[in-house]
Symmetry: C2
Amino acid sequence: MVGRVTIAQVAAEVGVSAMTVSNVLNGRPGASAETRRIVLDAAGRLGYTANPAARSLKNGRSGLVGLITLDLTAQYTLEIIRGVAEELADVELELLINASYHDAEREQDRIRSLSRGQVDGLILVAPVLEPATLDFLRDNRVPCVVIDPRRIDTPLPRVTVDNYEGMRAGVEHLIALGHTRIAFLRGDDELQSSELRFRGYSDALTLAGFQVDERLVRTCSFSYDSGFRTSTALLSENPTAIAAGADLMALGAIDAARAAGLDVPRDLSVLGFDDLPQAGQSFPGLTTVRQPLHDMGLRGARALLSLLDGQSLVTDDIRLATSLVIRGSTGPAADADASTNLSTSASHAAG
Amino acid sequence: MVGRVTIAQVAAEVGVSAMTVSNVLNGRPGASAETRRIVLDAAGRLGYTANPAARSLKNGRSGLVGLITLDLTAQYTLEIIRGVAEELADVELELLINASYHDAEREQDRIRSLSRGQVDGLILVAPVLEPATLDFLRDNRVPCVVIDPRRIDTPLPRVTVDNYEGMRAGVEHLIALGHTRIAFLRGDDELQSSELRFRGYSDALTLAGFQVDERLVRTCSFSYDSGFRTSTALLSENPTAIAAGADLMALGAIDAARAAGLDVPRDLSVLGFDDLPQAGQSFPGLTTVRQPLHDMGLRGARALLSLLDGQSLVTDDIRLATSLVIRGSTGPAADADASTNLSTSASHAAG
DNA sequence: CTGTTAGCGCTTTCAT
DNA sequence: ATGAAAGCGCTAACAG
């Protein structure tokens, strides 16, 4: 429960002052080799460990980093957290994790509560960030980094990904496979990434000389169920491919196709966005635009560490690239006999 | 970064002693309604909040609970954590999460480090718990609760589930559907639950008058990939059903069947164990033995809170029941023409 | 009802 | 190379 042994006890045991013990234990100079040896020995023998509260009170740092996420159970979030944890482990900072569960008020409350000395800095994953919260963070100079902000112009150091380029590359892959009736599952507009991904989709189509068909674009929430339902409805429009704004939707789309008796990718190609662990763990594997979630966590944590060290950041917008991961869920359009050369790479990945 | 306003400042502002401010702010008696009002007003105006480090140093409690889990990214773990977090939120305790990633040494290190005053108590999810660690926890009187221990006789307060009964009920469900060639994916023997689930399987068979066929029992690790591979190999034995020791394995089994051109559940029934969120998010939905993961977290946290309050627990072994969740992945055995009526109810329940 | 004293365990500053 | 004093912010315990 406690490291009940104090510095004073170690000092008494050895017959030196507490100050000397402190110096030795913290590797500060000013102690003979002999004293050093004896002190370390005694400390070890007694099982001394510093009282973090006392230390914290003295030096004003808690050794804790707060992480506030939308949803603790979402895989998306977890891969990010894992990256953060990895980076933090090296510097002996502990992670204090909170979830807001999409509740702006709760988020604000958690941010306020943690910022008051409970933690040294904050990492926010896709936060709502109401103006009042932003003001609070600024006014109190809370070291804070946002990973995957909802708005790209969030006035805080942030880690973002190439949502536009990612989706555009994904849809271009579908176009290269000969698809022309490409539907799009658009995510919640509260996230600017939804808009950006949609623009990637629509630009890819337009630049290839196609028109965006409104009937093929549906708004969908970030879940398997929503993906399943929305796709089921969409199938009546006879798309040959569905590009989804998130893997969970895409997974729902695959099963919707399956439920409708279609074969993926023969009858319908499906593209995701995220590359969650599940994307590789399905049959067929999901072709998807990979967000470097783990890296996002790593980089966000690293940026926070710089802030905590008092260093200024090289840039306030750390932008990471996405990459297209081709698996089995996309293949040549059924009626496309065009791209033979492309079909090798695609159909190979496709199965 | 900090609630830099101290009690002394509030006291000075109002013109009373720090003690009075402390009393008012903590709702202790001994302050006139008037003083109370003025103090609260000033504290609010100045934006005072207690310095947690100082408080912690004074009263010896950090307000933090440590949670050490095997794997931060496993859904299994997360559902538990969500339960823990929910219970803790009510009492203003924060959760400090660590992962050991299956490394016994790291686990020990994390436990030791957190126990030294960093946290008030510990929740361990499926820990390795080497003897030395157990000794440490006992010697230091660390309030500690284990959720889903690897060995059922772990000498600490613990939350366990009915592994044996659960699997037995699941396999009996398969038997009732007319299956006789029921294969079993057995989990890692490091977890006693693997053994218990296997016994549930074998007892169900034996009591129904069947023999356990060694060729139909395979050891498999707790992953989709392992489930896929092991099942692929298993299919050559022509089972009509596969009972898996975990959902991830079962999901792998379904896709292995699919990859082999079999239809689930027409040609092969698949049973899981856990009821992860994914189990309901697949097509067909996975019939599985539900572990009340969220509840396990809730109950574990509640037990820890009792320990922190100095209360003794009613029991050291909080055992929770599993329940069979019938979805679409199980159906009547192909060669069973007996149960026509069952096929309706089963496929109905299954859908 | 309100104030004073003291101390939680540590470390910064200044002496020796 | 070592030690004494003081104080981080808070709150029991006791005084008034």
